[in-house]
């Protein structure tokens, strides 16, 4: 087998009792926190993380150290750390596993990050459905406070960090960083316009850094072993490892941690290969928001380097949630399944996404029921382009990237499997064009009083 797993993050997850502080400390937890707090200044921590080349594992691959360096050095108001654990991208399941298995690894990263960006409060925004994870985190934080590793005057260093776990209400959009902050503030989870960026105007209007919880899991390792050791792992441009979440039609779906030099073929092999008797048809490389790859793209190295913004693959690594589809999949079915998710999860703030998700979903639904009309496919493609044209790399038609999260993958799905859609249209009995809606002016008796 060409590639092996390299477990930097997952290695301790299955140790019995690692959820408890006592066991976690036996395995070296909070040594990095002590090292950072006692021997390093915040700027040195930022410098170390910057030198390590750690990048955000949420999907954007933005330099973590660089992001931290945007925070004010002498803040006039309190700074905040927001930790994004609103893991909702279809196919993604790494954060939930890490939180439930090894909370202290993540919390140590949270505390070091707070120290580095001079934040006194961290909000861990956890997806609303992850009740167990929240309880695990709450318990772990209580243990930390008792052990004086969290709260006031940590380890006698005079440094104060409060960590709060905030449950989301189950909206996908609240994983978008600015929508997350709006939701945290108790408002509707609507993404904000940028600029201003969170480092200037974040949660509650305070300077805020927002990190994916998976990213922070690497921070203790880097502080313990040094930036150079981290930089030496895997691809120097994208150092470290990544937890690939392989799901779908493979024999052993699960989490596979590997360096970012691993190819798609290696990953599928690690997961036991495509289930027997079937051929690979397509792979979604990073959650359904990333356009899918076909069986021809198996040699793709699963690293952001392969997915250049205007590259030929027209896809992205996203959250590294690899969904494998074999030849039993009807692509119209796949499109409908994806689109129902996006129709349900659009926040409805801006026009193209609010109206586009429903329109696109309605049309795919009709094609799926074989009630398409001639020309439907062309209209469908044009509407997707109007939300965000993948060929022109256009993503500013909407406030946040939700628009292109369904516009781009659907465009590519139809383009790469067009014959299936054409066949569905060809065998359709066209649905009649519906009559206009009833007049909105109703007799007074029908008016709904508040």
């Amino acid at each position: 087998m060409a590639a092996r797993q390299n477990q930097m993050i997952l290695d301790q997850c299955e140790i019995p009792g690692i959820r408890s502080l006592a066991v976690a400390r036996r395995y070296g937890a909070y040594t990095a926190l002590a090292k950072a707090l006692t021997t390093m200044t915040p700027d040195q921590v930022v410098e170390e993380i910057t030198r390590s080349g750690l990048q955000g594992r949420g999907g954007a691959w933005f330099g973590t150290g660089l992001k931290w360096s945007f925070m004010p050095k002498e803040p006039r108001v309190e700074s905040f750390l927001c930790v994004n654990a609103d893991e909702s991208e279809p196919g993604t399941c790494k954060d939930r596993y890490l939180i439930e298995k090894n909370p202290h690894l993540l919390l140590e990263g949270v505390l070091i990050a707070c120290y580095a960006i001079r934040a006194s409060t961290a909000f861990i925004y956890v997806r609303g459905e992850m009740w167990e994870g929240m309880e695990v985190l709450e318990t772990a934080i209580r243990e930390l406070v008792t052990a004086n590793l969290c709260g006031k005057n940590i380890l006698g260093t005079g440094f104060t960090i409060n960590v709060h776990v905030h449950p989301g209400a189950g909206a996908y959009i609240c994983g978008e960083e600015t929508a997350l902050m709006e939701s945290l503030e108790g408002k509707r989870g609507y993404p904000r316009n940028k600029p201003p960026f969170p480092a200037a105007y974040g949660a509650f209007g305070h300077p805020t850094t927002i990190n994916n919880i998976g990213t922070l899991g690497y921070v203790p390792w880097i502080i313990n072993h040094g930036a150079d050791a981290f930089k030496g792992i895997g691809d120097p441009n994208f150092p470290g490892t990544l937890i690939y979440q392989v799901s779908g039609h493979v024999n052993r779906p699960g989490l596979y941690e590997a360096e970012l030099t691993v190819t798609l073929r290696d990953l599928i092999d690690m997961a036991g290969g495509v289930r027997s008797g079937h051929r690979l048809k397509a792979v979604i490389p990073g959650g359904t928001s990333m356009p899918l790859l076909t069986a021809d793209d198996l040699e793709t190295v699963m690293s952001p380097a392969s997915f250049a913004p205007r590259g030929s693959l027209k896809s992205g690594l996203g959250s590294a949630a690899v969904i494998v589809l074999d030849d039993t999949c009807d692509m119209v079915d796949v499109a409908l399944n994806m689109m129902r998710f996006y129709r349900h999860e659009s926040c409805g703030q801006c026009t193209p996404c609010r109206e586009g998700t429903k329109w696109v979903c309605d049309m795919i639904e009709r094609i799926h029921r074989r009630r398409a009309r001639p020309g439907d496919l062309e209209v469908l493609e044009q509407v997707l382009v109007n939300v965000g044209d993948i060929d022109r790399f256009e993503f500013n038609k909407t406030i946040c990237l939700f628009g292109v999260s369904f516009g781009w993958p659907l465009t590519m799905l139809i383009r790469r499997f067009r014959s299936e859609f054409e066949a569905a249209v060809a065998e359709s009995t066209p649905a009649p064009v519906p009559l206009p809606v009833p007049a909105s002016v109703l007799p007074a008796g029908d008016l709904r009083a508040p």
Binding site: R188, H344, C350, R354, A439, P450
Partner: protein, 493 residues
């Protein structure tokens, strides 16, 4: 002051202006729904796309961006008419119209609807949409506001207005995604005195005023610039007239006074013009009864007494008079040698209100108190009124109870009381002569607001036939008195 080029025209915008405002200075309209100068920018309708060319890190880059959240910057080159801009605007209109009922023939907004105007200007005539349109029930939201939910384009203006500007926040967006809907909380209807602005803020026909519902098509209305007589603030209004009747009042922009809005009290004050208690004929007391009379007779009665006892005359002005009328009243007291000039302060006083958005409502519910107090500084309570006194009271008050009970009591003591007024009230009931005047919408004039700013307004509708303009009446009185004094006619020797 950033200087930029918009569609080939050089514009210098004030600091902090966005591209919509900057383009407006150059006379270029960038279409928009969700942007409103008085509200927080959200850039959610995505209608205001423009193409901006700007130097970024030494390289000129061109990008499509929304004008409302792009601040004007030095050296920007903005195009509002390129193919990508037009396509983006067309796309957005298509998205907005697919679930819109397009029921313009029965919609009150038709004719002043942004969606309608932009669909003509930037949209296409046909639709590719062949699915079922979204359907939502219309709702009563309270304070005379209805939501025709189907027409809503979810620009969020109403929500932001009530939340940020008014500070009451009754409206919110409920549900999610395509199901988004503007709504109030159950049992918590809209309840504030700026609610009447909502139909004006709404760029489409979703929020509709019950006061104006199905009253008129807007293209049949003629708008007359007016000033609100509702309080001493003097908000700029526009009276929309059809068939010689005011159909509605709209706010008119005046940054020095009211910004873009008016309060509901002022907005619905126009109903007083056709009120059932309106005085429409002169009346003269005969014994116990006020009898309908004609102007010539009524004025003769007044003049004969004024000219006979000029030294016993007290001329009273009310703060509802215009500047011109108050001055004419003062002139009349000069003609009547020995007469006394005073004013009757407005008794309708409420606590002033200031909203988070900066809009203010004054406590003094009369339009011209400052000026009238300047012209006639003595209030009625400092004047002696006996059974020998002849009182000529120019009231024309739009408010019931504007004369305080002690003042009213004092007026009742007068030997002779002539009142020029617009509505029947307890003063006109005891007066000896009642002369019907005209309301602000029926005459031109000037009000000086509490900040001392004089604002003129014009007549919007024709008055009831037997009423007369107050200045005209005062002029006529003056003429008749001077004639009588100079000829000695009727004067006691």
């Amino acid at each position: 002051m950033p200087t930029m080029v918009i569609d080939g025209r050089e514009v210098t915008a004030p600091p902090g202006a966005n591209l919509i405002e900057a383009a407006k200075l150059a006379g270029i309209e960038i279409p928009h729904f969700c942007y409103h100068p008085a509200l927080k920018v959200v850039a959610s309708c995505r209608m205001c796309f423009v193409e901006v060319t700007q130097e970024v890190r030494g390289k000129a880059t061109t990008r499509l961006t929304t004008a409302c959240n792009t601040p004007a910057a030095d050296g920007m080159v903005v195009r509002t008419d390129t193919q990508p801009v037009k396509k983006a605007q067309n796309d957005i209109l298509e998205f907005l119209l697919i679930n819109h009922p397009v029921d313009c023939p029965v919609c009150d907004e038709a004719g002043e609807c942004k969606l309608q105007d932009y669909a003509f200007a930037y949209g296409t005539a046909s639709s590719r949409f062949a699915e079922h349109k979204r359907f939502r029930h219309a709702k009563k939201l309270g304070s005379g506001i209805r939501l025709y939910t189907n027409r809503c384009i979810l620009c969020d203006r109403c929500v932001r207005f009530l939340r940020d500007f008014v500070g009451t926040g009754e409206l919110s967006v409920t549900d999610m995604g395509n199901g988004n809907e503007i709504s109030v909380f159950p049992g918590k209807p809209i309840d504030n005195v700026l609610a009447g602005n909502l139909p004006e803020i709404c760029p489409v026909g979703a929020l509709i005023s019950e006061d104006f519902l199905f009253k008129a098509r807007v293209w049949n209305l003629s708008a007359v610039d007016s000033v609100c007589p509702g309080c001493s603030r003097g908000c700029a209004t526009s009276l929309d007239v059809k068939d010689n009747e005011v159909q509605r009042t709209r706010a008119r922009e005046n940054q020095a006074v009211n910004g873009y809005f008016i309060c509901d009290d002022g907005r619905y004050l126009y109903h007083v013009i056709r009120h059932e208690t309106r005085l429409e004929h002169p009346a003269v007391r005969e014994g116990d009864q006020l009898r309908e009379s004609n102007w010539d007779h009524a004025l003769d009665v007044v003049v004969s007494i004024l000219a006979e006892f000029p030294e016993r005359v007290v001329i009273l002005l009310s703060p509802f008079l215009t500047q011109e009328e108050a001055r004419a009243g003062a002139d009349l007291s000069d003609v009547l040698r020995g007469s006394v000039l005073g004013h009757v302060p407005n008794a309708v006083q409420e606590a002033p209100v200031l909203f988070p958005g900066g809009f203010a409502i004054d406590g003094d519910k009369a339009p011209n108190s400052t000026l009238v107090k300047n012209i006639a500084p003595v209030p009625l309570q400092e004047l002696a009124i006996t059974k020998d006194t002849v009182v000529l009271f120019f009231n024309s008050s739009l408010r019931t109870g504007s004369v305080s009970p002690p003042d009213a009591e004092k007026l009742r003591r007068a030997g002779f009381l002539a009142v020029i007024d617009v509505l029947r009230n307890d003063i006109t009931a005891v007066a000896d002569v009642v002369l019907p005047g005209r309301m602000w919408a029926e005459k031109s004039g000037t009000f000086s607001n509490s900040a001392g700013m004089a604002q003129s307004f014009g007549a919007a509708v024709l008055p009831p036939p037997f009423t007369r303009d107050e200045s005209d009446v005062i002029g006529d009185l003056t003429r008749r008195i001077t004639t009588r004094i100079s000829t000695g006619c009727g004067a006691k020797s």
